[in-house]
Symmetry: C2
Subunit: 253 residues, 2 copies
């Protein structure tokens, strides 16, 4: 195993629209794929409604359990955007319109659009927070302690991650390899795969069946590890496993 430690994070996805089935979340996957090369593993995710007490309870549970918490959603100008106030409540700190956030919005809207009360809601920042830049639509996110509060719109959330990255401690990077084995069945590979798992405890092996009707099927065999040498042995083991079962495994990019 690497001497660098693993860093575990949580993602909190906020919004009634994710729970009602209206909207398909993609932010969890984007965040996981962004953090992985930094050596930060997403270890849990939750999806909660816009109810402030649900948001606050989840934030407090997750920030105590993980190195970082990344939230998405609920920081816009409308009445159903309750994340900033809920985060302030979770931390027990005051919240109000902050001058630097107001200046960002004023510069963005200029003389043509009124910086009305609704838009000023987006300048409400909990005391002690630092802003997260939003190069897309300007209204900032913020960091409070180990919690990073970002927009829900995927393109804005993705842009905010760029400003977040330099603030994060880097851990051991978990690399992965995938071996595609067409025609292999999980019920046939389970025993040798479990033996391989026992032989390589520094590697985490997973098996994911796929189906391509009418006739195609197979498995993706995944090995994950922060230890490059162990991962290489894991990949070799997966290819050998497939070959022993009469199938030519294919390493995927």
């Amino acid at each position: 195993m690497s001497a660098v430690s693993l860093i575990r994070a949580a993602v909190l996805i906020i919004g009634d629209e994710l729970l009602s089935g209206r909207t398909q979340d993609t932010n969890l996957r984007t965040i996981a794929n962004f953090l992985a090369p930094l050596g930060i593993q997403v270890a849990e995710a939750r999806v909660v409604s816009d109810a402030p007490e649900d948001i606050a309870a989840a934030v407090n549970a997750l920030r105590a359990a993980y190195a970082y918490v990344f939230t998405t959603g609920g920081i816009g100008p409308t009445h159903d955007d309750k994340t900033a106030d809920a985060i302030a409540a979770a931390f027990g700190v005051p919240i109000g319109v902050r001058d630097d956030a107001r200046a960002i919005l004023a510069a963005h809207y200029g003389a043509h659009t009124e910086l009305n009360e609704a838009r000023l809601r987006m300048a409400r920042i909990p005391e002690g927070a630092t802003l997260i830049a939003n190069p897309v639509s300007k209204a900032p996110g913020f960091q409070l302690g180990n919690v990073f509060v970002m927009a829900g719109v995927p393109s804005i959330m993705r842009a905010m991650l760029e400003d977040v990255a330099p603030r994060l401690e880097r851990g051991a990077v978990v690399q992965s390899v995938t071996v595609r084995a067409a025609g292999l069945r999980e019920g046939d590979l389970a025993a040798p795969l479990e033996a391989l798992q026992r032989a390589e405890p520094a590697v985490s092996f997973g098996s994911y069946p796929w189906y391509a009707p009418p006739d195609g099927f197979g498995v993706h065999l995944v090995a994950r590890s922060p230890d490059a040498a162990a991962l290489a042995r894991g990949q070799a083991g997966l290819l050998a496993l497939a070959q022993d079962l009469g199938v030519q495994g294919e390493v995927q990019a």
Copy 2:
């Protein structure tokens, strides 16, 4: 408000591959859209790793807080499929291969495929559970108390829901309407939308901006309620709101 009560459920998505960014979950949305017409609202979702202690802790937290819990993933034949044992541990009941589940697998695999130890893992059912039929690949899910344990493969999970539905109590159905308003900005509609929310407390209003670069933008205004009359007033209110701001709202199917 309807006299029929609201029924709240949770979804628990299980698997390292969802947290690593390898796989995009779609089961949450499928479950939410399946349950909504039955009068069951998904009120929270969690995504956890394959670690049995994470699965058991989440199941115990959610089954105490919600009427139903629906889990997906981790019930296949390989060593990383740990859900059934974790659920048994969460409930404090024994688990073992059950005759009826074994018979289903034996009939499916027939004389040509060995019902080996790995495949028999899929017949391990916690004591006191009832099976959930799997018309796709036969290996059953199970129900234990208010927890429904289903496959992670989306097509199999979706098929299992059909066997689950008749077991569920029906609650008040929350209907929704969406008004699309091109050219409207959230900062301009926030105040009248909040006034509408105050005037119609039995309706939950949400606002979701959309962008279609280079020039297109607007909002989807959503009203949700179990009360049909209130929802109709909510829809009329949203159309009037858009008109007052100089935009023709469009009711979406």
